[in-house]
């Protein structure tokens, strides 16, 4: 695991504080979507299919900051859309890091080099560029439906690292992914010099164009077991080892949909980052008035049946790490041995 100690400490103390305060449902990562516009149209993405007037809109920095304060999560992930297309991205990031929020700016990196050269960002331990990389050149370009994007992203990563920024990658895996090719991909990312990698199976958005390539539970477990068997010591993952164990079928978790709440121009998305069943006006409204019993595997909701996505289960894994001795011990063992 490659999460810096200061970040781990911030998350651990936050989780313990929530527990001591008797808070049953608390957020861990705010998914802040300032816009839906993107310069790609990936086959696995249902986030960008809106009418033109919606794609032209974006949140103000002030609205973003209000949401961050309201939510209180120690980590803010900025997906989208493509956040580097957000006109105020520099100011937003500066305001968030000044508030000591750990920011993961999730980008396809097409514009990264340009923004870095323009001096839009300053290196900070609170800022990480989480670059979308769905595999080696062939697999990634296919996944984003455009050739040449892998090379652009790799160049962006190298430029960010050269300038002293924290850089990780985020990878979504679909049906047909090759464990062997993914192991080669892990080597390639480590060769590039990224701090760590995050992995997740894709979720079958009802609006995503590619409905045939999402992974059901059994196949997810098989893929991750083969991919992460005998992991190389040099591979670093920027996520909970318990979550990786869950993906490998070694653990059984229930979803924590409130762990990664989502805020965008429509409001607070119910119930989670992936399902859009309505919007709440406030974070409090989201937490108190969402019918959580309708979601997660136990609920029997077919939309949740095969979901093993990080935004639902990583918060569960982190919760276990910092609220049980067994979870803590297993996390330490996996971190020390490098074996999820």
């Amino acid at each position: 695991m490659s999460v810096p100690v200061s970040q781990m400490w911030a998350v651990a103390s936050y989780v313990v504080k929530q527990r001591l305060g008797g808070r049953r449902r608390y957020p861990l990562v705010l998914m802040l979507e300032p816009l839906f516009r993107c310069n790609l149209a990936c086959a696995g993405c249902g986030k960008i299919q809106y009418p033109a007037q919606i794609l032209r809109k974006h949140l103000t920095v002030e609205a973003c900051l209000r949401a961050v304060e309201e939510c209180g999560a120690p980590i803010v992930s900025i997906p989208g859309g493509e956040p580097l297309m957000y006109p105020d991205i520099g100011r937003l990031v500066e305001e968030l890091t000044a508030r000591k929020k750990y920011v993961y700016l999730c980008t396809n990196a097409i514009l990264l080099r340009e923004k870095l050269e323009a001096g839009v960002f300053k290196p900070s331990k609170y800022l990480t560029f989480s670059v979308h990389m769905d595999g080696l050149r062939e697999e990634h370009d296919e996944s984003v439906c455009r050739e040449g994007v892998y090379d652009e992203a790799a160049e962006g990563i190298q430029e960010a690292l050269r300038r002293g920024f924290r850089v990780t990658t985020n990878t979504t895996l679909f049906e047909g992914a090759s464990p062997l090719r993914m192991r080669e991909f892990f080597d390639a990312m480590m060769d590039l010099g990224v701090e760590g990698m995050t992995l997740s199976p894709g979720y079958s958005y009802s609006k995503a164009p590619d409905q045939d390539h999402f992974l059901p539970t059994r196949k997810t477990q098989e893929l991750f077991s083969r991919m992460l068997a005998n992991p190389k010591r040099r591979w670093k993952f920027n996520q909970s080892p318990l979550f990786l164990q869950f993906l490998m079928g070694k653990r059984d978790y229930e979803c924590t949909p409130w762990g990664n709440p989502t805020f965008n121009m429509f409001g607070w998305q119910r119930p989670c980052y992936l399902l859009q069943e309505g919007y709440a006006e406030s974070f409090q409204d989201l937490i108190e008035n969402t019918r959580w019993e309708r979601y997660g595997k136990k609920s029997g909701n077919p939309k949740c049946r095969d979901c093993m996505v990080h935004c639902g289960f990583e918060a569960t894994a982190v919760h276990e790490t910092f609220t049980s001795w067994k979870g803590f011990r297993d996390t330490v063992v996996a971190t020390v041995t490098g074996k999820p």
Binding site: A43, P209, D212
Partner: protein
């Protein structure tokens, strides 16, 4: 049209009645990734993107950004006669299979320009 989840609802102008409730039409409009036109009981209309609906409150409502992006406008269910699916379905025609087919055609010397995105 309702049952065919593969088909787009674009152009549909449903009549609310015994076979089709207003709640069903609203749910379909909420799920539709294009602009719709809300026909109110007073005969006025509002076109835009219906992004929210809440049937679980004492006065159920929808919320919409109009065609210029202004809003959100909140309209109670009780003031809605029907909703027409007037805008282009932005989720339709974006098939992954179609993109792959174009990509294959490109590789084999077809006419598709390099780097073209799904339609």
């Amino acid at each position: 049209m309702i049952e065919g989840s593969e088909k787009s609802l674009q152009g549909w102008e449903p009549e609310v009645g015994s076979d089709l409730s207003l709640e069903q039409v609203i749910d379909l409009a909420f799920d539709y990734r294009g602009n719709t036109t809300v026909v109110k009981t007073d005969g006025t209309e509002l076109s835009g993107y219906l992004f929210n609906r809440n049937p679980d409150v004492p006065q159920p409502f929808i919320q919409i950004f109009d065609a210029s992006g202004a809003g959100p406008f909140t309209i109670p269910y009780s003031e809605i006669r029907t909703i027409k699916f007037t805008g282009r379905d932005t989720a339709a025609g974006n098939s992954y299979a179609a993109w792959r087919k174009r990509r294959e055609e490109e590789k084999t010397g077809g006419a598709t320009p390099s780097g073209e995105l799904p339609a």
